[in-house]
Subunit: 340 residues, 3 copies
């Protein structure tokens, strides 16, 4: 996409100084600006880059006064940072809105229905009895099984798989390769030492404004529902097992795994590579540090937990600082023993 | 799918009390039962829910006597739990059996063959010289390369990738997005500090009754075969490197990684986020706790191993309980030093 | 693929002893050799297998003299190991080269272009304004978004997803199910406790000779580029967050995660299940042991780092050896206390 500086100034309610007919097609950091790019200057700290940038244009604030000569065009707006984020959003929306209609071949079972203003890419698959809302984008090679419901304005990215009976809310994003509603990992041990699969007949419910990262996996419930509540944001390669509940506006970073039937509260922040055992409850507003293992419920809200087996962070760090010095500690004991 | 209570009673060899013409289309937990759902009561602990459930019907055992009024229909069977699991299996089988035939467009090389009673969804791909058994279901966007063999009644879920030369047994399930037989991670360091790929020309062999979880990856052998023995159950996002051997009826939970050429025995249980180095052997019936790192072979069967560098669990927990109290231990040493 | 021993001898510049018209179709380890397979003997240690192998043929070095009777054919070459690796490469190249042309249905937007000698499998998808080099293979169900550039001789394996604006160099391999250029995980906390997505408008740049493993995920930059430099080799299920830089000829093993804006130097070796926090720098030639957590920059090149919170390996191992003996250490303190 290419825009003239005049067009951008119009979107931002700003004023071009320089040649408004020049075109840009990229948003650059000011220190990496190249011809064809537009940058912004909102922080005095970066002002020196302004005089050296090769960006075609830079968005600046109303009151900005250059103290040296410069070669870029400028777009002057009320607040450069706000203007810039507005530009980012416009760019992102434009990019999403540009996909409309149905590419062929795509597969859409006659028993399913999709609302208007939608997009279905080539090689997207929609099974039986699905109800798909308005403005939903289904990208290439995405799979939607049977009896799936998807709310308005949700985006199913390339190669995401939404298995049978899943229910997804409005304004969600399911990123490429994510798997929603695959079988829970449930096997009954038999007397001869083998395992028999326990049928997994529940589903996954994802509420509004949820984001699920690339190649993450969310298993369906054995019975009932695995539930991701509204506003939760889940990063790439995260595993969420059967019958887990993730609270509202909880954020989970990459490669974390949550075992079966565990319930995470609202407004929690869970860092990367964390593991939680099954059948526990984590209180609201809990923060869990990277790589932490959580083996029991956290009952009081607002704690910060860290370490291999999940201690409160200050306790962990105290113990760990001594762990690093264990050789010295051992020497002190030797010394004491000698002196007896 | 909708069934009348009379139909379900017939499947379960039971008897309806109430209106047998009512229909259900879902299996609910008794405490979450809603109209249109069927639940079961097998454990006295849950009896109070029986009187409050909104489920249309509840499966109960022959000898059950209600002690209060209730509003649901009941289906009386010999043993409520057995009856319920039979219903689950019937439901799951029905669900799987309903997919038959070939949806178009699908790609199937003329040199390959597939047995009868199979299913190939739209956008499924089967390359050259494949031999695919009877009753095999290949879901949408699944990929099967060249020279692949798949046994009877195996299910290849949506978007799973089975690379060249893989051999998969009977009654397996390869869940969505799993990758079987991608190149092993082998590179020869060169004198200039770069790496040259070592051709990975082996394959993956998966025996009967194996389950591979969503988005898990199993690399082909450098030479010979990476081998997953019969009855092994592997969860989501697990990494199995080239030339690994997984024993019979071994269970591996999510996000565990097994490095090249390691051999896992039979009837092992490996929890989530475990890592094993390459070229080691794990004895039969070993249990490995979550997040454990295993750096050498485990020679005696039946041990339980745990902790960052894989100790026997009781040793790890003893050391860990002191780790948590290291600040107090350090204080005791200070006290001793003072008193000298 | 089947070759006669005479054909193989011609490729290897060697000489058959035995029946050169026999055919082989597989490369076997000598200790697992079966009819139809060809093996090699380069190490005296394995000589005993030579007399017992069932392989049809074995590649041996010029000076090899059998000390017992044997039943296989032999192909005598200057150096058995070099000959064997040449055979491996010939086999792998043959295998790759055999795919050419366009299978239908595939989707290729009219605004995009692809060089000659390429391959596009059925159900591969190429969006708008893409420039794809010579000899590029795009396998089944692979997805390439809009404005993507791919250099010569790069392979995009089955079901890999290359999102909008990505730039991939020459001679790269993107393995099955990998996701390149999905949205970075960036959300601005709002006053009401919810999160608003920050538009992610940067891209991913992958230089020449890079390998990305199966189901790995590499996020696009918020602005600018996530950058994987030439010769880097990345294993399966690795997470690389937005704005990360991976140095030249750096190797990263499976299930490692690298948080946003972190920069890894050249010639580093990072083992499996490692986690790095965001916004740090790792010096050139750093080695990081498996499962290590890295919480700050490593400034001096050539170190080996290990342990839950990233110590130098000898320091970690010293402390850890005492950790294992903490109960005994505690007993010594008790003893000292008693004796006071």
């Amino acid at each position: 996409m290419e825009f003239t500086l005049d067009q951008i100034a119009a979107i931002l309610n700003g004023k071009v100084e320089g040649d408004g007919s020049l075109k840009v097609r990229r948003i650059d950091k000011i220190q990496e600006g190249q011809p064809g790019g537009i940058s912004f200057l909102a922080n005095d700290k970066y002002e020196s880059h302004f005089y050296e940038t090769n960006a075609t244009a830079v968005i600046v604030s109303e009151q900005f006064k250059a103290s040296k000569p410069f070669s870029c065009q400028i777009i002057r707006v009320k607040n450069a940072y706000t203007g810039f984020t507005r530009l980012l959003e416009a760019y992102a929306n434009f990019s999403k809105a540009s996909q409309l209609g149905i590419e062929e071949p795509s597969y859409f079972d006659a028993s399913s229905q999709q609302g208007e203003e939608g997009y279905r890419a080539a090689f997207s698959y929609v099974g039986k009895n699905c109800i798909i809302g308005k403005g939903v984008k289904i990208h290439a090679n995405a799979y939607i099984g049977n009896n799936v419901k998807i709310g308005d304005n949700t985006i199913i990215h390339a190669g995401a798989k939404i298995c049978n009976d899943s229910i997804i809310g409005n304004n969600c994003e399911i990123h490429p390769g994510a798997v929603i509603g695959s079988d829970g990992f449930g096997f009954a041990p038999q007397e001869n030492g083998s395992y028999k699969p326990i049928p997994q007949i529940g589903n996954v419910i994802i509420e509004d404004h949820v984001s699920i990262g690339a190649n993450s996996t969310i298993d369906c419930a054995t019975m009932g529902s695995t539930l991701i509540k509204k506003g939760a944001k889940i990063d790439n390669l995260v595993q969420i097992a059967h019958n887990v509940i993730i609270g509202e506006h909880t954020v989970i970073a990459s490669q974390t795994g949550i075992s079966g039937s565990t319930e995470i509260g609202n407004h929690c922040v869970i860092a990367g590579q964390v593991g939680l055992v099954g059948h526990i409850k984590i209180a609201d507003k809990t923060t869990i540090g990277a790589k932490t293992g959580i083996t029991r419920s956290i009952e009081n809200p607002g704690k910060t937990i860290f370490g291999y087996m999940g201690l409160e962070i200050k306790d962990f760090l105290k113990s760990y600082s001594i762990f690093k010095n264990l050789p010295a500690l051992q020497d002190r004991i030797k010394e004491l023993e000698k002196k007896q």
